[in-house]
Symmetry: C2
């Protein structure tokens, strides 16, 4: 890594900045296999915390984890008409195994609806077996030509929830409950505010009746689709004979939902909070929240400050802070500061010989509220007891900053496609308009502006207003949010 | 599942018993993809607890998690001579992706040494970058013709640790430290005692200099290889140019280790503790440690006992017990007892209308020490406060029972291959003999008895004695432990 070369600035080339910062923060690296990435410990540690938080939320809403096969018979994928249309072009296919050609090719799962609902059909007989609410943490494969670390790779890690219900309404409630879980997670943990709503017909999941989405604004003002939940209706249950005997003794098809988020969220975190120094990790996700750097010039000074650093580490750990001491001897303090800032650790504590005498330390925040001092000289005890609160404030401040940025780049009152184009080519961001619901309008917007309909914002999740006029002319029936997207 | 049919008894057909019990306990199920299994919530919940415990132990010994690609170029696998010989026959190969034939076929990882050390070569330049100690939780694929749930499936879940060190000695220490971690985990968590030692040349990992193993005795007296650690020497670092500049400024090849355990451990747990009623889950691994079954005949009785059950659940949860109430109305208590016994939940609590009046509950252990009462009528408060200790005793008792069984079927003093054969065909079990170290003796034992050399027991982990005479004649240089194996 050319770490000595200055980082590209976001405003000069956001895309180059992203690629550099992800590698320099040691989040991930390119692998020798085209389209596949290596997630390095710092990136994986962030993903682990995302997993833990989401997993707790899934369990609290009555889901259990299970594991289904990586390989799916080609014939399964082909059963649901829309599903195969969506996924076939991206499949990786195993044709040989154990030294022989297979009778039927197997595909590496691009998503697991087909294999999972074929098993549900075996397990579910009666309404008493419903609802069945499972989640799987897994790797999936969608062959991509143009890949970007975390945002679009052939293999990625994700979770996929799959549920079966006795009624359409229960499935609908599940679809929306999990949408709410995703939204809460993204705001509370990633400090990434999202606009939540329904996808249009052209943007919904291949095989779904309806798809809901969380859309986040990145610093280049593009939208990132951060997580989706799907009401699958009976589309898959009909193809896989997933039936149950109802309370009235009638054989019926079950109603399914599926929902997923992936390692893409790590990319979303980077593009929401990073700056021209490096990435910034929200404290709740940071594998290390505080790094302590002992400062000394002579060996005689070393013992004292390293001891004090260890002592501070233990005291902070006792307060529940994830903390480490960077006592590497071959790097000077400046190099350490630079490395941890690049990696986005929320706070560092510096301890030098003079601090020792004064029983104080220097606490430096990775970022601070506007106008606030970045460096605070604090008595040791105060630095320790206040740290949990500082971390919590840091977390909230990241969310506030991201929200304010999004609001500053949200545009309402746009009346025509020409005007929409002007906004997107000028300031950019999220543009809210009226929409008739006509897909032809959607096509025209896409063709003329390059933007897509990100979602029909949902009043249950945020305030919305339905303008009178459709952006494509005529009367509006709903609100639409448009943006250029990843 | 033919749940109404009686379970095959272990002594009649251990293998049939195993297959039935794994499915009836809803640990796993066969999938439509030959050789791949589905891990159901009860089985996955046990695996999750194994993962959490191991992961904590890995982190406590200085390892971090990362994630490497699922697909490996065929040419990588072919680089290390012994490695390719061991794994090539079992590879699953992706030849097409994204609608096109690939220029170079990609294999689904059977293990990740090659892809991981190719990345280490990129990251490691200096002795200051060492040691590098990473672990990966992942799925792997080894195409198998004859498969058994958990024990041998084409796809399985595992962890693989991969480390790089500056010296042979450090790598050796790492190999043995992780062996100790595995042994501790297997005894403390799975309550599965193991014999720990070195593999012979013919049984070591394809590509290793030396392999250590943990061998557990199943109830049919066969050995299960439960986990292995490998000192890889410089075999892979030479193939992947994994070099570093030493403190003296000399370019050297790094020393590697790798080590792994898999979902096979769930099978080991079943075959160590299960009985003719079902499986038995050690409390530390049980997703549910205590199930509360409210007992009532009339609706008027229902409210009171269900309320009490919920109250007991909350009180037990407050003591740190993983507990649930089974309040399904369509099953009678007997059916519930049977289901939870089959699934191996350590304790159930029964609460009926008469108990309510007496402020008592009935605590029933899944198994108890010889001669102890299985049922205890206890005051509610006592049942609550004593439960953590009961669970701990249950855990220890499982280990003791398994250890006693193993000792009862361990044979020493065997002097010849004929005698070895007699023991293996008669009582069976683990047989300890002297060994010259001559692989020809190993071959003869295998040909004549069907047993393999499980390990050369290690005095650092258990008491061993080296007999004077080799089982194949002549002088012994070491002790060997032989058994028929899974």
């Amino acid at each position: 890594m050319a770490d000595d070369k200055a980082l590209t600035r976001r405003e000069d080339d956001f895309s180059a900045w992203y690629n550099e910062v992800v590698q320099r923060a040691e989040l991930a690296d390119h692998s020798p296999v085209r389209g596949s990435m290596v997630i390095r410990p710092w990136g994986y540690g962030i993903w682990e915390r995302m997993q833990r938080a989401l997993d707790d939320m899934f369990k609290a809403t009555g889901h259990e984890n299970a594991y289904f096969p990586l390989l799916i018979p080609m014939s399964f994928i082909e059963r649901e008409k829309e599903h195969v249309k969506g996924f076939k072009p991206e499949l990786a296919v195993v044709t040989h195994a154990g030294g022989k050609e297979l009778e039927e090719p197997l595909v590496i799962r691009p998503t697991s609806e087909t294999i999972i609902y074929s098993m549900y059909a075996k397990w579910i007989q009666s309404y008493r077996d419903l609802p069945l609410k499972l989640n799987q943490w897994a790797n999936v494969m969608r062959w991509e030509l143009r890949t970007r670390l975390f945002l679009r790779t052939s293999e990625f890690l994700w979770q996929e929830g799959h549920t079966a219900h006795a009624t359409d309404q229960e499935a609908q409630e599940e679809t929306r409950e999990m949408l709410g879980v995703y939204r809460t997670f993204m705001e509370d943990w990633i400090a990434m505010p999202v606009v939540t709503g329904l996808k249009s017909e052209s943007e919904k999941f291949a095989g779904a009746v309806r798809t809901y989405t969380c859309e986040a604004m990145m610093q280049d003002r593009r939208a990132l689709q951060a997580g989706t939940t799907h009401h699958l209706g009976q589309n898959f249950s009909r193809q896989f004979d997933l039936t149950f005997q109802s309370e009235e003794g009638v054989e019926e098809y079950a109603w399914n939902t599926s929902w997923g988020v992936s390692t893409r969220l790590v990319g979303g975190m980077v593009m929401t909070h990073g700056d021209d120094t490096g990435i910034i990790v929200p404290p709740r996700l940071a594998p290390t929240q505080v790094v302590i750097v002992p400062i000394y010039r002579k060996d005689s000074e070393r013992t004292g400050v390293v001891e004090k650093a260890a002592q501070m580490r233990d005291r902070l750990a006792a307060e529940g802070v994830r903390v480490r001491v960077d006592d590497r001897d071959h790097l000077n303090p400046g190099a350490k500061f630079w490395e941890w800032e690049r990696k986005g650790v929320p706070f560092r504590i510096e301890i030098g010989p003079r601090d020792l005498a004064k029983e104080q330390v220097v606490v430096v925040g990775r970022v601070t509220a506007e106008g606030a001092d970045r460096k605070a000289f604090l008595p040791e005890a105060q630095a320790v007891v206040e740290m949990p609160q500082r971390l919590e404030e840091f977390q909230l401040q990241l969310l506030e900053t991201a929200r304010a940025r999004r609001e500053a780049h949200s545009h309402r009152g746009v009346q025509s496609i020409d005007e929409l184009k002007e906004v997107l080519e000028g300031p950019g961001g999220f543009v809210y308009t009226g929409w008739s619901g006509d897909p032809e309008v959607e096509d025209r917007v896409k063709a003329e502006t390059g933007a897509t309909l990100r979602c029909i914002p949902d009043p249950d999740f945020q305030s919305t207003e339905v303008p009178d006029r459709c952006v494509g002319g005529g009367e509006a029936r709903m609100e639409a949010m448009w943006a250029k997207a990843y």
